[in-house]
C-alpha cells in the first residue's frame, strides 16, 4: 500500500503566488479552456466525487479495529455524502511515512517513547474522485501499544490542483494544528502518568503491608504459593513504578530534542509551561521512591498539596478537618492489578480524551478555520487572495466601504512566527498553577457514613454533589485567578448556592431558558425570504417572525449545542459513577477487582461511533446511557470507565453548554462571526435558521460578514430602492454624512430598513458601531455624533413626545425616514451620482447583483475621495500669494469640471474626504481624549412622500 501509485508527487508551480508578476494578465482560472472536457460542464468538476465540498477528516489507526474515521470538519454528514469514510481512512492511514518504532530499543531496560515527526503526503484516489493532503501524527497514550496512537488529519478535496497549489499553506496550517494537538496530548499524557504512578504507589504500599503482615504471621507462610505470588507482584509493581517514572522523564524532555520538521513551530510559552510542569512532577515522584505506608504518604501529600494545588482550599480545609480533607483529596489512588489488561479488553481513549481540553478545542478551532479559509474552488480562492492583497494596499480608504479584512490576514502576514492557538490569557492559571489532580476526573466521594441507596440512582445527594462537581470545575475553568483565597471562597459560595437549590433539572431548566432567551432575541433580518411580502402586511409579518423564532429554536437544539443531550449524559453518568463508587468501595474491601465485563466495550463502541457521526451518535449515546443506567451492571470495571466518563461529561458541559457561550464577552465577536459563517457555509441549513445567531451581531460591514448576509442586505436594499422613489435622497443623506433616523413603530421593519441602509454608511466601524439598529429612548446630540444611522422607535407616550421633541429640536442635523408613513424629510438632492444605484426602476432583480453593483459604485466613490483628499493643491495654496478663495475656487473647479459633480454630489465627496482625512490623522493608538468632530451644514429640508 505504501507504494501506492496514487500518491502524488508534490510540485510547486512557480508562477502562482501572492506577487503576480503581471497584474493585468488574467489568471489561468479565468481563461476559457480551448478543449472542453468530456463531461462538458466545466463547473461540475466535482460531479464524480461522492462528496459535495471539501472537508477535513481525522482518522486513526486503531490497534483494535484498524483504520477508522473519527470526525469530519464541518461536522455534517451531508458534506461527505455517500463517500466511504471508512475506506478512505484505510487509504490515508496506509501511507503513513512516520518513521516510528515501538517497544524496547536494545540496551535500555525501560520502554521508550518514540518521538516522531509528522509526515505530510498528498494522496489521490482517482476512483473515488478524491484527493487529500494528509498529515500524519502520533499521540501518546499510556494504555496503547508502544504508548503511541497514530492519527492523521486529511484535507479532502475533489480538486487535485487545489491541493497541490495550496500545499504549502495546507501544510503550515495542519502543522500548527498538529503541534497544538500534540502539546495538549503531552500534557494529558503527563497527567495520566501521574495518576498511574499514584495508583502504583498505593498498590505498592498495600502489597508491602500485606507482606509485612504475612511475615509477622510466621515463617510457615513465608514460602507458600500465595506469598511468592505476592512477592512477585510487589516486584512487578516496583518495576512498573520505575518504568513509569522513566516515561515521565522522557515526556518531559520532549522539547529538548532537535526538530527536523521546519513547520514544527511550537509556542514557547506552552513549551516552557509544559516543561516546568513535568519537572515538578518528576521531582515529586523522585521523592516517593522510599516505600512507606500509604496512610503516612497520604497524610503527607495532603499537607503538601493542599496549599499549592488546591489554591485557597487549604484554609477552609483546616477548619473542617476530616470532611474537608476527604472532599478535597483530589484523587484517590486505586489498586492496580498486576497483569494489566491487554489490547482488546479495554477501551481506548478518544481523541478528545487524549488531549488537554483547551488544546483540543484550539486545535479544532484551527482546523475549522482552515476548512473555512479553503472553501470554494481554486478560482475563488485565487480571486479572494488577490482581492485581499489589493485591499491591503488600500488601507487608507478601506474603512469606508470595504468589510474589515479581519485578523486572518494577520495570520497570513505573520505566518511563520511561532504560533499558539491556545489562548494563554484564558487558561493561564491552569498552566501556571497546575492542579492536574484537581482537574482530573475524580468523582466526588460520597459520605461513607451515609451510603446512598444503590436502587435509587436519582437520589438527591448524588445529584447535587455531581452538579456541584461540574460547577466547581466550571468555576475553576472560568475564574482566571483563583490562586487567591478570596476568589476561591467566592466561587465556593456560588457553588454552594447552586448545589443547594439547583439540582440537575434546575440546571436543565436554566439552560433551556437561556437557550430560549437567546433564540427570542430580536432578529434584524429574519424574514428575508423572498416570499414574505411584509411591507404592508403587519400580521403576516409577525406570524412569519414567529415561525422564524421557532425555527431558530429547533435549529439551536439539534444543530449546534445539543444541550439536552449533554444534560442527559450528565444525569446518566451521575448514576453510572455513583454505581461505580459503591462498587469500588466493595472492590477495595474485597481487595480484588471484578473481572472485566463486556459492557465497557459496548460503551467504547458507542463513543467511537459518536466521534465519527455525531448527529446520530447523540441519540445513540443517549440510548446507550439509558441502557447502562437501566441494566446497572454491578461488575463493571471502574478504572477504565469511570475517569473517561467524567472527563467526557465535564468536557461536554464546558464546551457545549449555551450558557458558557453566552458568558463569552461580546468582544469575542470573531467567534460569533465565525460561528455564523460555519453555519452559513452549509447550504442545507434553513434560511431562517441562523437568525438567532445573527441577532447578536451588529449590522454594517463589520457585522455583515458572509456572502449570504451580504446578499440579504443587498436584497433588502434593492427592495428599498425599488419601493421608495425617494431612496436616492436617503442614500445621499447617508453618503453625505447626514444622520438618517429611521422612525417606525414596528421594530422588525425598522431593523430591516436599517440593515439594508447600513450598506451605505461610510466608515461604519469595525463592528458597525456607527449604526444603531433600534433605539427606544430620546437621543441626544452625542448620539447624533456617534451614529450615522439610527432606528428609532415611535411610541405614543410621554417618552414618545420627548423623543419627538428631540427629533424636531435636532431636525437640522438629521434626516428622518418615516417607515410607517413612508415619508422622508431631508434636504433636496438633485445630483446624478447616485442615480445608478438608487434607480427605482432598476432592472437588477437579485440582491447579490445589486450588492455588487453598489459595491462597485461605492468603490469608485472611495477612489475619488482618495484622489481628492490627497491632491495637495485642492486644499492648500500653491504659492504664498494665493488666498483661500483661490484654493476654494480650484477645489470647486476640480469637483465640478474634472469629476463632474454637482453641488450635492460634491458634498458626498467632501464628507468622504473628511472621513479619510480623519482616519489618516488619527493617532495609531486611537486613545486620545479628543472628542470627534461632528460636521453639518445649514440647509433646508423638504418632505418627500411616496
Amino acid at each position: 500500500m505504501i507504494g501506492s501509485p496514487d500518491v502524488v508527487a508534490f510540485t510547486k508551480e512557480d508562477e502562482f503566488g501572492q506577487n503576480n508578476p503581471d497584474p493585468w494578465s488574467i489568471p489561468e482560472e479565468f481563461s476559457i479552456p480551448l478543449h472542453p472536457l468530456a463531461d462538458s460542464n466545466p463547473w461540475a468538476k466535482t460531479s464524480y466525487a461522492k462528496f459535495t465540498k471539501d472537508f477535513i477528516l481525522i482518522s486513526e489507526f486503531s490497534e483494535q479495529v484498524g483504520p477508522q474515521p473519527l470526525l469530519t470538519i464541518p461536522d455534517d454528514p451531508k458534506v461527505c455524502g455517500t463517500f466511504d469514510l471508512n475506506y478512505f481512512s484505510l487509504r490515508i492511514m496506509s501511507v503513513d511515512y512516520q518513521a516510528s518504532f515501538v517497544g524496547h530499543p536494545p540496551g535500555s531496560g525501560y520502554p521508550r517513547l518514540s518521538f516522531v515527526e509528522d509526515s505530510r503526503v498528498v494522496l489521490g484516489d482517482s476512483k473515488e474522485g478524491a484527493f487529500a493532503y494528509i498529515h500524519h501524527l502520533t499521540l501518546y497514550d499510556l494504555e496503547a501499544r508502544g504508548f503511541v496512537r497514530p492519527f492523521c488529519m486529511a484535507y479532502v478535496s475533489a480538486d487535485e490542483r487545489k491541493i497541490m497549489l495550496q500545499f504549502q499553506e495546507l501544510s503550515l496550517r495542519f502543522s500548527q494544528a498538529s503541534e497544538c494537538l500534540k502539546a495538549g496530548n503531552r500534557r494529558a499524557f503527563a497527567k495520566e502518568l501521574q495518576r498511574k504512578l499514584q495508583d502504583l504507589e498505593y498498590t505498592h504500599s498495600v502489597l508491602q503491608r500485606e507482606e509485612g503482615l504475612q511475615r509477622e504471621a510466621g515463617p510457615q507462610c513465608m514460602y507458600s504459593a500465595h506469598a511468592v505470588e505476592k512477592a512477585n507482584e510487589l516486584a512487578n509493581v516496583e518495576k512498573s513504578i520505575y518504568e513509569h517514572r522513566d516515561l515521565l522523564r522522557q515526556i518531559s524532555c520532549y522539547h529538548c530534542r532537535p526538530r527536523r520538521d521546519p513547520h514544527a513551530v511550537t509556542c514557547q510559552k506552552c513549551m516552557t509551561q509544559c516543561l516546568s510542569e513535568c519537572e515538578a512532577l518528576l521531582d515529586k515522584y523522585a521523592k516517593l521512591a522510599n516505600p512507606f505506608s500509604y496512610t503516612d504518604k497520604g497524610r503527607k501529600r495532603e499537607d503538601v498539596q493542599s496549599p499549592t494545588d488546591d489554591g485557597g482550599g487549604g484554609k477552609g480545609a483546616e477548619e473542617d478537618e476530616d470532611e474537608g480533607i476527604k472532599r478535597r483529596s483530589s484523587y484517590t489512588p486505586q489498586l492496580i492489578k498486576a497483569r494489566s489488561a491487554k489490547c482488546f479488553d479495554k477501551r481506548l481513549k478518544t481523541l478528545q480524551e487524549l488531549c488537554d481540553e483547551p488544546f483540543y478545542e484550539a486545535t479544532m478551532e484551527l482546523l475549522k478555520e482552515t476548512e473555512r479559509s479553503f472553501r470554494g474552488d481554486l478560482c475563488y480562492l485565487h480571486t479572494r487572495r488577490m482581492d485581499k492583497a489589493l485591499r491591503r494596499r488600500q488601507r487608507i480608504t478601506n474603512f469606508l466601504f470595504e468589510e474589515d479584512l479581519g485578523d486572518e490576514d494577520e495570520d497570513e502576514g505573520g505566518m511563520l512566527r511561532p504560533f499558539c492557538a491556545v489562548n494563554h490569557d484564558l487558561d493561564n492559571y491552569t498552566i501556571l498553577n497546575p492542579p492536574p489532580i484537581v482537574l482530573g476526573p475524580e468523582p466526588v466521594e460520597l459520605d461513607p457514613l451515609e451510603p446512598p441507596d444503590p436502587l435509587d440512582p436519582a437520589s438527591e445527594t448524588s445529584h447535587t454533589q455531581e452538579s456541584e462537581l461540574v460547577l466547581e470545575e466550571g468555576n475553576l475553568d472560568s475564574s482566571p485567578s483563583d490562586q487567591t483565597l478570596e476568589t476561591q471562597e467566592s466561587s465556593e459560595e456560588t457553588k454552594g448556592s447552586f448545589s443547594s437549590d439547583k439540582s440537575g433539572t434546575g440546571l436543565a431548566e436554566k439552560q433551556q431558558s437561556l437557550a430560549s432567551v437567546r433564540s427570542e432575541l430580536p432578529d434584524p433580518d429574519s424574514d428575508l425570504t423572498p416570499d414574505a411580502d411584509h411591507n404592508t402586511d403587519l400580521e403576516r409579518e409577525s406570524s412569519s417572525e414567529d415561525m422564524d423564532i421557532t425555527a431558530g429554536e429547533d435549529e439551536g437544539d439539534n444543530g449546534g449545542d445539543q444541550t439536552p443531550v449533554s444534560l442527559l449524559e450528565v444525569v446518566s453518568e451521575l448514576e453510572a459513577s455513583m454505581e461505580d463508587n459503591c462498587e469500588r468501595r466493595s472492590g477495595i474491601e474485597s481487595d480484588l477487582l471484578v473481572p472485566i465485563d463486556t459492557a465497557c466495550c459496548m460503551a467504547q463502541e458507542g463513543f467511537l461511533y459518536e466521534a465519527s457521526a455525531p448527529e446520530a451518535a447523540s441519540h445513540l449515546d443517549q440510548s446507550s446511557h439509558h441502557q447502562s443506567s437501566q441494566t446497572l451492571v454491578v461488575n463493571q470495571e471502574p478504572q477504565s470507565l469511570l475517569p473517561l466518563q467524567n472527563d467526557y461529561a465535564v468536557g461536554s458541559l464546558c464546551s457545549e453548554s449555551p450558557a458558557a457561550g453566552l458568558e463569552l464577552p461580546v468582544g469575542l465577536l470573531g467567534d460569533a462571526v465565525s460561528r455564523t459563517t460555519a453555519e452559513d457555509g452549509s447550504d442545507y441549513t434553513m434560511s431562517a435558521s441562523t437568525g438567532s445567531d445573527r441577532a447578536a451581531s451588529p449590522l454594517g460591514y463589520g457585522g455583515v460578514v458572509t456572502l449570504r448576509q451580504r446578499k440579504r442586505a443587498g436584497h433588502v436594499a434593492l427592495r428599498f430602492v425599488r419601493q421608495y422613489p425617494f431612496a436616492i435622497q436617503a442614500l445621499w443623506c447617508l453618503l453625505s454624512g447626514r444622520t438618517l433616523v429611521v422612525l417606525g413603530a414596528d421594530e422588525g421593519r425598522v431593523r430591516r430598513l436599517v440593515a439594508a441602509l447600513a450598506l451605505f454608511v461610510p466608515g461604519p466601524g469595525k463592528c458597525g458601531e456607527r449604526v444603531q439598529a433600534w433605539l427606544s429612548c430620546p437621543f441626544t446630540l452625542t448620539d447624533l455624533k456617534r451614529w450615522k444611522l439610527i432606528g428609532l422607535q415611535r411610541v405614543a407616550s410621554p417618552v414618545g413626545s420627548s423623543m419627538l421633541y428631540s427629533l424636531s429640536r435636532y431636525s437640522r442635523y438629521i434626516s428622518i425616514l418615516d417607515a410607517d408613513q413612508k415619508t422622508l424629510r431631508c434636504p433636496p438632492y438633485r445630483g446624478q451620482l447616485l442615480a445608478n444605484i438608487a434607480d427605482h426602476r432598476t432592472y437588477i432583480r437579485r440582491g447579490s447583483t445589486y450588492f455588487l453593483h453598489v459595491q462597485s459604485t461605492l468603490c469608485r466613490l472611495a477612489a475619488k475621495a482618495f484622489l481628492f483628499t490627497f491632491t495637495h493643491h485642492l486644499h492648500l495654496p500653491v504659492s504664498s500669494t494665493e488666498g483661500p478663495e483661490v484654493v476654494e475656487g480650484r477645489r470647486r473647479c476640480f469637483l465640478q469640471e474634472q469629476l463632474g459633480l454637482g453641488e450635492e454630489d460634491s458634498q458626498i465627496l467632501l464628507y468622504l474626504s473628511q472621513l479619510v482625512t480623519q482616519q489618516y490623522l488619527q493617532p495609531p493608538a486611537g486613545n486620545s481624549a479628543v472628542a470627534p468632530c461632528f460636521s453639518f451644514n445649514y440647509t433646508t429640508s423638504v418632505l418627500y412622500k411616496i
Binding site: L804, V930, F936, Y938
Partner: protein, 440 residues
C-alpha cells in the same frame, strides 16, 4: 393620526422668530461635544488664545484646548459648587503668567496654575462664600465680594475687609477710574476708593433705587441694570446719572387687555439679566429680549422684544453690528443690527414708556426722554442659531476664528467651529503627516 411638527419652529407656542434651517451667514458648521463635568456648567473664562476654563456646580474646573477640544487639566479641590471664577495675570517683566482664581460655596478661594493643574494658594474658612471676584491687574490686587468685601494681594494676603449690611451681599464688582471700584449690593451701588498706601478704603455710597446685578463699564461712565428693567448710565467720577431708560413692554399696545392682566409681566421678564458693552453700544438682555442702547445718542438703537423663548442669560457684542446671545431655551443666537427697511415693522412710539415710581429714596428723577425718532431705530435680525444643548446655555466664550465655547446645564460644553476652516486645517495636518511619513 397627528404627527409631530417637523418644521423646526412650527410647534412653538410663542411667536419667536424662526430662522429655519437655511443659515448662510452661520459659519459654525462643526461642533465638538466636550464632556467632563458632572453638573451644571456655569462659568467659562478665557485663559489665552487657545485655552479656556469651565467651572460649575460639581466644583470642578476643567481647562480645555479650544483648538483641539482636548481636556488639558482637571482642577480638583473644591468640594462644592463654584460661585465665581476669574483669571489673574501676573506679568513680571518679560513673562506674563495667567492663573485662575476660583471661589466656591465651600467658603474657600483658590489660586490655580492652569499649566500644571496645581493649586497654588488656598484660603478656606471664609466667613461667607464669595459671589464675585474682581482683579485689578495694574495694582496687583483683587477683590472678593460676598457678604463682606475683601481685598487681597497677589500672595493671597488679606489687605482689608469690610462687612456689609445688606442681606444679599455684593453681587457684582466693577472697576472705576481713579482707583475706585463699584459694588452692587442689593438695591444700591457702593463706590469704594482704594488708597493703597493707607491700605484701607474710602467709600462713597450713592443710593439708587432697585438696582440689580449686571453692570458694565465704559470710559468714564458705567451702566447699571436693575431688576425692574431700569438701565442707568452713570458718570463714574462725579457719580451722576447721565441717562435713564426704563425698558418695559408696551402693555397698552396689545389688543386684549384682560389677557394682559392675567399675563402681567413677571419680574424676570423685565429684569435686566445681563449687560455688556463695547464702548459705543450697550447690550442689555431684558427677560427674553435684547436691547441695544447707544451711549452716544442715549437711545435704544435696536431691540428685539422676544429674542429667545426664555430668559437670556448671557450676551456679547461681537462687533458694532453683530451680537450674540444665549438663553435658557438652550440655543445661542447670532444677531445683526440692520437698518430697518422703511415700514417693514410698524414702529411703536412710546414703547419705552416713561415710568416714574416716585420712590422716596430716589435722588434724581430719571431724565425723561421719549423715543420719538422712530426712523432711527434699526432692527436686530437673526442671522443664525446654534442648537445643540439640551439644557439652558449658561454662558459662552468666543475665541474669534478658533470658535465658540458654550456651556450649559446639561453638563456639557460644546465647541462650535467654522467647518471650512477646520477642514482646511485638517488638510494642512494631513499633508504635514504625509511629508513626515514620506508618502503613503
Amino acid at each position: 393620526k397627528t404627527d409631530w411638527a417637523l418644521g423646526g419652529c412650527g410647534g412653538h407656542k410663542s411667536p419667536v422668530l424662526c430662522i429655519g434651517e437655511e443659515q448662510p451667514k452661520n459659519c459654525f458648521t462643526e461642533l465638538q461635544v466636550l464632556k467632563g463635568h458632572f453638573d451644571i456648567v456655569r462659568f467659562l473664562v478665557q485663559i489665552d488664545d487657545f485655552r479656556c476654563a469651565s467651572a460649575g456646580d460639581d466644583g470642578l474646573v476643567l481647562v480645555w484646548n479650544v483648538e483641539t477640544g482636548e481636556r488639558l487639566q482637571e482642577l480638583r479641590g473644591h468640594s462644592q459648587q463654584i460661585t465665581a471664577i476669574t483669571t489673574f495675570t501676573c506679568s513680571n517683566g518679560l513673562m506674563s503668567h495667567t492663573s485662575l482664581i476660583t471661589a466656591s460655596s465651600d467658603r474657600s478661594l483658590s489660586l490655580w496654575d492652569p499649566d500644571t493643574g496645581n493649586r497654588v494658594q488656598t484660603i478656606s474658612d471664609l466667613q461667607s462664600s464669595v459671589k464675585c471676584l474682581l482683579v485689578l491687574e495694574r495694582l496687583c490686587v483683587w477683590f472678593s465680594g460676598g457678604e463682606e468685601l475683601c481685598v487681597w494681594d497677589r500672595d493671597f494676603q488679606l489687605q482689608c475687609h469690610r462687612q456689609n449690611h445688606s442681606d444679599t451681599g455684593i453681587t457684582a464688582l466693577i472697576e472705576l477710574p481713579k482707583n475706585c471700584i463699584a459694588a452692587a449690593m442689593d438695591k444700591e451701588i457702593s463706590k469704594r476708593k482704594i488708597l493703597m498706601r493707607q491700605g484701607c478704603l474710602i467709600l462713597t455710597i450713592c443710593v439708587i433705587q432697585l438696582l440689580f446685578p449686571a453692570m458694565s463699564f465704559s470710559d468714564g461712565l458705567f451702566a447699571s441694570g436693575s431688576h425692574a428693567g431700569e438701565l442707568i448710565i452713570w458718570d463714574a467720577i462725579d457719580w451722576n446719572i447721565l441717562a435713564y431708560e426704563h425698558i418695559l413692554w408696551e402693555e397698552s399696545q396689545t389688543c386684549a387687555q384682560a389677557e394682559i392682566r392675567l399675563a402681567a409681566p413677571k419680574p424676570s421678564e423685565m429684569s435686566i439679566q445681563h449687560l455688556t458693552t463695547n464702548g459705543k453700544l450697550i447690550l442689555a438682555a431684558v427677560g427674553s429680549g435684547l436691547y441695544v442702547y447707544s451711549i452716544l445718542t442715549k437711545t435704544v438703537v435696536a431691540y428685539r422684544k422676544v429674542a429667545h423663548d426664555s430668559n437670556v442669560l448671557h450676551t456679547m457684542l461681537l462687533s458694532d453690528s453683530e451680537l450674540m446671545s444665549c438663553s435658557e431655551d438652550g440655543s445661542v443666537r447670532m444677531w445683526e443690527i440692520q437698518e430697518l427697511p422703511l415700514t417693514a415693522e410698524p414702529a411703536s412710539p412710546g414703547f419705552f414708556g416713561m415710568w416714574t415710581f416716585g420712590r422716596p429714596n430716589k435722588q434724581t428723577g430719571p431724565p425723561t426722554k421719549k423715543v420719538v425718532d422712530v426712523p432711527n431705530i434699526r432692527t436686530l435680525e437673526l442671522t443664525g442659531d446654534l442648537i445643540g444643548h439640551s439644557g439652558a446655555v449658561q454662558m459662552f466664550a468666543s475665541f474669534k476664528e478658533n470658535g465658540l465655547v458654550t456651556c450649559s446645564t446639561d453638563h456639557l460644553l460644546i465647541l462650535w467651529k467654522n467647518g471650512a476652516r477646520q477642514s482646511c486645517l485638517r488638510s494642512l495636518a494631513l499633508f504635514q503627516k504625509l511629508e513626515e511619513n514620506g508618502g503613503l
